[in-house]
Symmetry: D2
């Protein structure tokens, strides 16, 4: 529950691109980035619409509001009290140009997933980060939950033995109707290949499942056998998907994502089965991790308790029994990122204890393999490694 990370003499200054009025994720970034009092959003290009940008900036009491992200990158890089890092919260097709602009201006970046629209596009960001002087975080939020970190720690400590079976699901129902034809802005861009990329539910939530699985298991998905579906008539992208998995360490299993799973909210769950124990985590009860040792009673591990690993204990703010949630998990990514920004400012090496370029590329490669498998009548397809 402590936060002894070294910090600077002042709050870090952050900027944000996207996330203005009408966007769900913008406010979440603000709450998460500022939760620990280590950073403050002071500048933004919150919308491409000038009036929305202005009103949104006023909502947030920003000191500097921009219409153009290019201008923002230039101006902030030049300003004596310019931002220390930028948050990228725009639709998918803009991730690449915005990230590129800020990295090129020498500004650290926190970016929504996915990294880019394609592996090829994502790989073009690598050279900009190659020097190691710039920081880049991808907000794979679910890895921020303390119970997820405990799960990872248990697997890493060998508590599960050899991992045999994995099950990961992310089901929700908000796209069960064709909202994109009814003026719903969030639905519109997410179901539009030009703005969202070639993957629908797979890119929106499937990669959260993929990333969570790889994060906790310590294994990567090596090949996939996928069946994508478009349930809602007229929709161009998948809104439902089932994928058989084979993992680098020999485990097998299933990944399911769906945005038409009527009645489910954000039902992300992960179940692992090893030779010595099973593990289960459900997003709807995020403070709890179920540990199932072979031949013994299930153990209910709870956020905030002293018996947890260091990693899990470092990622919490409240005593056990006072529920934490999504914002706090999100804030854990920012906590680590801000500590790294301070380290870099002091000339120390960053720890990079948050998802970054590599995780972003892995998700894009996973997407491409799933799309390829589904097109090939569910043929087993290898997930690229970039080598």
């Amino acid at each position: 529950m402590s936060s002894s990370a070294p910090h600077s003499e002042r709050r870090l200054r952050a900027g944000i691109v996207g996330g203005g009025r009408g966007a769900f994720i913008g406010a979440v970034h603000r709450m998460a980035a500022e939760l620990d009092g280590r950073a403050e959003i002071v500048a933004g290009a919150l919308s491409s619409d000038p009036q929305t940008a202005q009103l949104s900036a006023a909502d947030w009491f920003l000191r500097r509001a921009y219409i153009s992200f290019e201008e923002m990158a230039r101006a902030e890089a030049a300003a004596p009290e310019g931002i220390d890092f930028v948050i990228v919260a725009v639709p998918n097709h803009l991730h690449y140009p915005v990230v590129r602009a800020f990295l090129a201006a020498g500004i650290h970046v926190v970016c929504d997933k996915p990294l880019a629209l394609s592996v090829a596009e994502g790989e073009q960001l690598a050279p900009l980060l190659a020097s190691g002087s710039l920081l880049f975080a991808l907000t794979q939020t679910y890895t921020g939950y303390p119970a997820v970190r405990e799960a990872r720690a248990l697997v890493a400590a060998g508590e599960l033995g050899r991992l045999h079976r994995v099950m990961v699901e992310y089901t929700q129902d908000w796209l069960r109707e064709p909202l994109e034809t009814q003026g719903q802005k969030q639905a519109a861009w997410r179901t539009d290949p030009a703005r969202s990329g070639q993957a629908g539910s797979l890119g929106d939530i499937g990669v959260h499942a993929q990333n969570l699985l790889e994060y906790v298991s310590g294994q990567t998905i090596s090949s996939v056998c996928a069946d994508l579906n478009r349930v809602v008539a007229g929709r161009q992208l998948d809104d439902d998907a089932s994928v058989l998995l084979r993992l680098s360490g020999g485990a097998r299993g299933v990944l399911v994502c769906s945005q038409i799973a009527t009645g489910d909210e954000n039902a992300l769950s992960l179940r692992l089965y090893g030779s010595k124990a099973g593990l289960a985590w459900h997003h709807e009860d995020p403070d709890t991790l179920i540990h199932k040792p072979a031949g013994a009673p299930w153990r209910r591990l709870r956020r905030g308790q002293a018996y947890l690993s260091d990693a899990a204990r470092a990622a919490t703010r409240l005593p056990p029994g006072h529920p934490e949630g999504y914002i706090e998990a999100f804030a854990n990514l920012y906590r680590a990122f801000c500590a790294d920004v301070c380290r870099v400012k002091r000339g120390e090496p960053p720890l990079r204890d948050y998802p970054g370029l590599e995780e972003g590329l892995r998700s894009l490669r996973f997407i491409e393999a799933v799309l390829a498998s589904s097109r090939a009548d569910s043929a087993w397809t290898t997930v690229g490694t970039g080598r």
Copy 2:
């Protein structure tokens, strides 16, 4: 909670083959068959070992004990107070010969799943039942749960709208170790192709998942894309399986079965997602059915309540809140079967409201398609229809 099924002037007389000391399922058959006081087991060939057969028969106070099922079929058919029906609770490879012997002797049969070792073998039973004068029930037990019947009724009434996604799982962990090499009798025959057939976990529990899904959804599985696994070293049959599904009505989904899922007991669960609602049922909370109407709160339907369908209300014995379980579900199959036996005795047509030959053949065809798919590197494979 009523039981107005017509009944005879006396308890029906039942016999049993298999299920002696050391067998789990024998005692369950006895409890289930006798629970409603409509039948009594009076004769048996409980073991091929004479001493076990004798001791087991004494345990149950049987009037007539046999060593050989052939002899039992002959003798009971000839006896003036012979059995009305026989229960077949032997390892899989004996299902066919035992069932055949009793049907040939004109005795109604209740048989453990699977119907037989292969589709071909199973189909040979069809002519014996063709006249319609003999009754045959296959103990696909899980269809006996009142909440499962409510689920089926809700789907049939159109409450789910068009079905889009299905998820069915049966995970357990009792074969996570190579018990078959350690003298465990149950494990020994289940992992032996000669006695269990070509499917391991798939045949033992996967078909329960398949049958449950088809029973509730009212759709059949039309094609499969399967990945069978043998986790425990040296095992000849699958102990873990993932299967992508496509259903006759257009739904898609996943079936998982595993006997190496450490920490799980008999975690059978079914989730359906339709255009109007979702449904979820979990075997560990069998008296509850979760109904998830689109845009509205989940409804927790409970066994025994007056608001349930006739089908669900007819399948219960206790008021809501007094838990029922596996034996009661099992007994629901016997209740319907015994009522049919009485109907036939009175010259009335049977209702056949329990799984039978057709369900048994469907499971065998499903198994063969899954095996074929898995052998073909998970190629989509059509499930035969027998036509």
Copy 3:
């Protein structure tokens, strides 16, 4: 899961008084008594209405049907193949005369709770049992659950340390309307002081809570501070009660029972808190016991698992994960009782591992203390000990 209790050469013969058509509990007694195949109900006086008695006897294929329990006691005691024991399933006011009649006839008795209408009445049964040659069981059913037995074993083994706080509840809602004025037979006698005694909800379900608490904790309730309520207008007996408790070992706590708790089914639950651990059991998930060791994760103990105590393992019939319920718990009382009947027949001393006269008297004394406290404006009132 074993059943090595010694048994006789034949099924025991049981009779039943009460429990005919329209009575919920009669069929439960039959199922529970016969579940293990150790006893068979062969005779009964199922109703005081001759036609109901006759029809009910036919439903159950009884060999001998009576109208009068006195006649039944006489006749069965005299018959060469008379019953070994009788089941008493009549409204409360008849418990005493029926039990008395059969004990006087030398026949063992299993009786529904409460023992009698008053302590005074109950104490008159003591002399009939004083010789020790007759067996008497009171069906405090909930003590039959394996998880409850595990709880008792854990407390007895000192796993909770010193017990500090107890919470026991039994809430249901079936009397939330004045069913007794609407022709509902069950409600009619339960709300009628002449047939039910001076306690309403307290006598019907409160004593189950009291008995469960004392059974598991190993302590007796020494004094009470009670607030009885009659929620439904016109009702003569309590339908809702809250009671502060002090226990013989120093623990304190609360007992709540209610029959007007809208939405609850049979929500019996027990929570204990000791210096070393807490325990929780909920009737709606009867196969699970939650063990909460201080400073460590909760442990979820499950019926049927090998890690349980002998007492819990002996009280089960199915592998873990195949749910057991109320009938099976009830049958555990019969299992122990029937084993005792066999012991007595063989001239061996009975084990009396089921609730009996003493537990019945304790409940009656608890009721009287609660009634006295409530009448005295909730003054602390000592529960009598009979000494």
Copy 4:
């Protein structure tokens, strides 16, 4: 999910007294006060220890750090950019003097519960607030949960009918050992009558239960019958309590609070039973409210869903299924308070949609009645109304 509350031209400036390093609640106040970006803590007297005060102020990047709260009140009232309101997060015995100092200086106040050490002390604050120009909020945090607000809205809308039974509990275990003798600062002052007042667990958590019950039910507790306990040897204040309740509208029930309930974290729960429905809310699953309509399935209401009341929908920040928790609930009090500060600044009447003086006095009167009842051997004791 909207936040259309009118706001000022700048973030509000807040100060804080107490809450420095080592205090749990200080950081929670900061996160909650700042979560919506409407306020910023700029000044503080975070500790009476000068060095701690200085370090804590640096941790939070405060602009102005004080050692003395009197000096802070004076200075901030005089400063041109002084604070708009102060947060009081000190041990109980300091609530009164600190609140008094800031109110006297004309500064709005947000104060931890309890209001004061006694009713008499609390009533002395009334004159300072009588003019209506100053705002006062008491952080009865649990009323900030959206699901709690939904519960209140359902009761107010008559969905429960006439309320008959209430059950409220707050159990935790952190004081199961004598931490106060082991140098634990939080335990030391909470178990010390001089700093905590005459009530231990009752004042620390019991009043949360009392407030939650009254908030949701819309009834006040009119009389109590209480049994306080001191479980840990040597402790001067209660650490465990059971209280029978009678409510102003006729409902009866039980309140339990305990800090020695081994294994429980912050197990606050509320259950209400009315003539038409029951309701249940559990702090460990805060986004869920269970609605139990008579004779119908339970309905699981979820935070963020469109079907909820305006009050519940206004108190949320995330879509359903992205868990919210304690900080967000806490922030809902600040959201309403800050909106009121802005209203007052604009000359508009405040809405006072948060707990205040009256709620604080009610809790103190409840405490005094419980203490009196417990001293009087649990005699029923009327809760004062201040009239």
